[in-house]
Amino acid sequence: MQHLLSFLIWFPIIAGVMIFTFGRDAHPNRVRLVSLVAVLVSLGFCVPLFSGFDAAMQTMQFVESHPWVPSLGLTYHLGIDGLSLLLIVLSIFTNLIVMLATWESIQKKVPQYLAAFLIMQGLLVGVFASLDVILFYIFWEATLIPMYLIIGVWGSDNRVYAAIKFFLYTFLGSVLMLAAFLYMGFEAKSFGLDAVYALKLSMTAQSLIFVAFFFGFAIKIPMFPVHTWLPDAHTEAPAGGSIVLAAILLKLGAYGFLRYALPIVPDAAAHFAPVIIVLSLIAVVYVGLVAIIQQDMKRLIAYSSISHMGFVTLGCFVFYMMAAKGHMQAAALVMEGAIVIMISHAFVSSAMFAGVGFIYDRMHTRQIQDFGGIVNTMPIFASFFMLFAMANAGLPGTSGFVGEFMVIMGSMKAGFWITFWAATTLIIGATYTLWMYKRVIFGPVENKAVNGLKDLSCYELSAYVLLAGMVIAMGVYPKPVLDCVHQSVQTTLNKAEASKLKG
């Protein structure tokens, strides 16, 4: 099991290339079945990953290291801690949901579609498992190619604009990150993550690096005010693309903050923390308000994602306000809360986007005003969607509640007003989600097309059952997740606390 991580990266990529090369448009079901098997095999190999993982260990596990380009000091260095483990499993699980939820909805160029998702899955695992900054960058950037194609080829009317905007926006952010990596690689004489962690830097250098990181990660999350690509990308992407985008690609930014920005440039991060916190709160409140008035369901969920991600960035940075007061316990609580929100949001937003996809496939519209009374014809869908809507609004007992509660409770130690503004999300979130739910699902049937709707197919239902199970399990008993990330949060906090100023 020494090459488990490599297997999880390269197996889906090779499977994807095979499907692209040999899959035929004439036999879509055969191709779908093969891809489903590929994802299930990947998921199967997550079992030894979990069982072999020791949550108490402080170092990286399942480490693989081979020289890659020795003359430049680049290594193929993989390894995971609790945080990466969760995100890796989440990526593969999300791909399973994508396969099931969009089983029938894509009819053209099926082999290419599924190949893009499989390749993306492998690349995402690579991002989370890399311990060499350049290797990380390579996987990070490579995910843009399949996503660009997914939005552009299978998206809706305005897809070209959305795809190019998505690509250029994120590309712009990441090239600055590359410049920062190049600089650190030069200073540290190595591109290994450990060497970069150990590197001492002056405050000016740290600030510049932090700004570069900020562009890279904040655009990806996305944070206010660099969030404008996301509503477009989400709206125009096919349902599967939206699911992966919301569930995993947004988490890349948060992962970047936790794994790179905080430990590498702690002093600059502390310096800029108030700015980030303010931007996060603006995202929570202002973007939440923007979500309320959306007419397009996908746009609404997209804005809701940005608002939730505001919580994540808040959780990542707010501890700088408490550490000064010595509340280390609470600091760990908010950071763990942020991670829980990341995971929970992956399930909830996948489910919401999948739901929009289900009704879009049947009615070819996403406008809220075109719906109404769906509960009459799709009762099963309506009940499940109710659960996910509640989870999105943060109802206790669902996964949505746990993380938000942890962040709100913890940040009380940082200051009342931070908590106050953060807590408004409970009202705003409930407003946009439940009002949307009411207009779409309940009420009289306005549109004749609603009368002819068929309820969920078995593939769609299985995706929803899996997601519902996850949402409730995490809402009722989040301990396994917390145990898993506890050690990584401690390590990150220790690194983010220690000053690295060159003295």
């Binding site: 003359s71 430049l72 160029k109 996987f139 950037e141 660009y148 552009g152 250029l168 190049l182 600089y183």
Partner: protein, 481 residues
């Protein structure tokens, strides 16, 4: 017979083989006019691959100077000669059908291509200013003719005239610069010039050196189409028959960069800062303007011309660092660029068949529906040119930018990266046309099996070199170690 003149003559074998090939092809064309095309093509392939083999053999040999100091064989020249021959062979292979379809005289095409190749090889192996000039002219003259090879087409003739006038002007400037440097040092060989540059001549003739440097830099920039000496490139790319555009855009770039490396890697002594400044302006203008102007192009050949301008600018970033790592980065950049550009324009040549002529970007519409595999190969090429990992184009940019950061020019690297984002836009637009737009014509596109295989190998090589780059990078680094 002067034995010293002929000592180590085997190191010039790659050139001699090409010369022999050119002569044989010419004779074949004269004596067997009906089978000239096939014969010329076969002779060219044999000569080119024999030349590659010879160059590869000498790659690990130490630096050798022959022909009384006129000619040098070092790892850099061997690598460049091998890649020049390889890319010329690729270009000839891709354009063979195009040439036949358009009724271009295949025999002439092969002979001109081989003579130009000979010039390129001499250029990268030059060790005196005179050999440099000889190689340059031998490379350029056949290129002018290749541009006008369809002499009844007015666009080709116009492009050729522009190319010739501009090229002649550039040669003139280069020659004038050489004469100034010769005047100041009294030497033609690079070693002697290097010595003079750091010696007492520098103080007495500083003005002459500066003028010589500027004139030679301008001449070199003309050949590489760096901004502000770039205006000929888009017109020539557009006007020339696509087979000639392909030829012009690939191997001559390697040769011209070889010339630039030879010239700028002289030890400039006091003038190092000035030459660095010249390089900086050229590189930044080229990457900036090249990428911005490419955005508004609708003609795909013009698009590739502007893309070539910006790529030459990136290669100059490597020179700008003025370190061995920087020179290796520039070498690596241009070698890989030759592979990418021959694949990109190669597809345009290959698809211009059965009466179709690809000139506009929108002629590629819906390629993914018409031939998914070719579209995928082109996707790899375009993303590689845009510098997106895991394709090799990313590593080339990585290497030159790393060289810049290592000498403290981080701000230049950041600018280069930002220009890369601008550049990504027009490559994305081509991908968009191929993948997102519906084809006007629904018919499947098919290429002959052999072409398909070679093209696939070529496209996948970009991916392979991106995933396993260490061997080529190590070779490039060793060339300047």
């Amino acid at each position: 017979m002067n034995t010293e003149l002929l000592a180590n003559i085997q190191f010039a074998l790659p050139e001699m083989i090409i010369l022999l090939g050119a002569v044989l092809a010419l004779l074949g064309d004269v004596f067997f006019p009906r089978r000239g095309a096939m014969l010329g093509f076969s002779i060219a392939m044999i000569a080119l691959f024999a030349s590659i083999a010879e160059s590869v053999c000498f790659m690990s040999a130490p630096k050798t100077i022959l022909f009384s100091g006129a000619f040098i064989s070092d790892p850099m020249s061997c690598m460049m000669r091998a890649f020049i021959a390889l890319t010329v062979a690729i270009c000839l292979f891709y354009s063979s059908d195009y040439i036949e379809d358009r009724g271009i005289s295949a025999g002439d095409n092969v002979v001109l291509a081989l003579l130009s190749t000979l010039g390129m090889m001499i250029l990268v192996s030059a060790h005196t200013l005179l050999t440099l000039y000889l190689g340059l002219e031998l490379m350029s003259l056949p290129l002018y003719v290749l541009t006008a090879i369809r002499r009844t087409e007015t666009e080709g003739a116009e492009a050729a005239l522009k190319y010739f006038v501009m090229g002649a002007l550039a040669s003139g400037m280069l020659l004038y610069g050489m004469s100034l440097i010769f005047g100041a040092t009294g030497a033609l060989s690079f070693d002697a010039i290097s010595e003079a540059l750091t010696g007492p001549a520098m103080t007495t003739h500083k003005g002459l050196f500066i003028f010589g440097l500027v004139f030679m830099a301008s001449g070199i920039s003309f050949k590489l189409a760096l901004v502000p000496f770039h205006s000929w490139a888009p017109d020539v790319y557009e006007g020339a028959p696509t087979s000639s555009t392909l030829f012009i855009s690939v191997a001559p770039k390697i040769a011209a960069l070889g010339m630039a490396i030879r010239f700028f890697s002289l030890s400039w002594g006091e003038l190092a800062a000035s030459s660095q400044q010249i390089l900086l302006v050229l590189a930044l203008l080229s990457t900036g303007l090249g990428n911005v102007l490419a955005i508004i192009q609708t003609n795909i050949k013009r698009l590739f011309a502007y893309s070539a301008i910006s790529h030459a600018g990136y290669a100059f970033f490597g020179l700008l660092a003025m370190t061995p790592e920087g020179y290796s980065a520039a070498l690596y950049y241009i070698l890989v660029y030759a592979l990418m550009s021959s694949a990109g324009l190669g597809l345009i040549v290959l698809l211009s068949r059965d009466g179709a002529e690809i000139t506009l970007i929108k002629d590629l519409k819906g390629l993914n529906s018409r031939n998914p595999w070719l579209a995928f190969m082109m996707l790899l090429v375009l993303f590689s040119m845009a510098g997106v990992p895991p394709l090799v184009g990313f590593l080339t940019k990585f290497l030159v930018l790393k060289a810049l950061v290592d000498v403290g020019l981080t701000w230049v690297a950041v600018l280069g990266l930002l220009f890369a984002v601008v550049g990504a836009f027009y490559y994305l637009r081509v991908v968009k046309v191929m993948y997102f737009d519906e084809a006007d014509e629904k018919t499947k596109l098919a290429l002959p099996m052999s072409t398909m295989l070679i093209y696939s190998a070529h496209g996948l090589a970009l991916l392979y070199l991106g995933l396993f780059p260490s061997a080529l990078i190590a070779l490039c680094l060793k060339a300047f170690a």
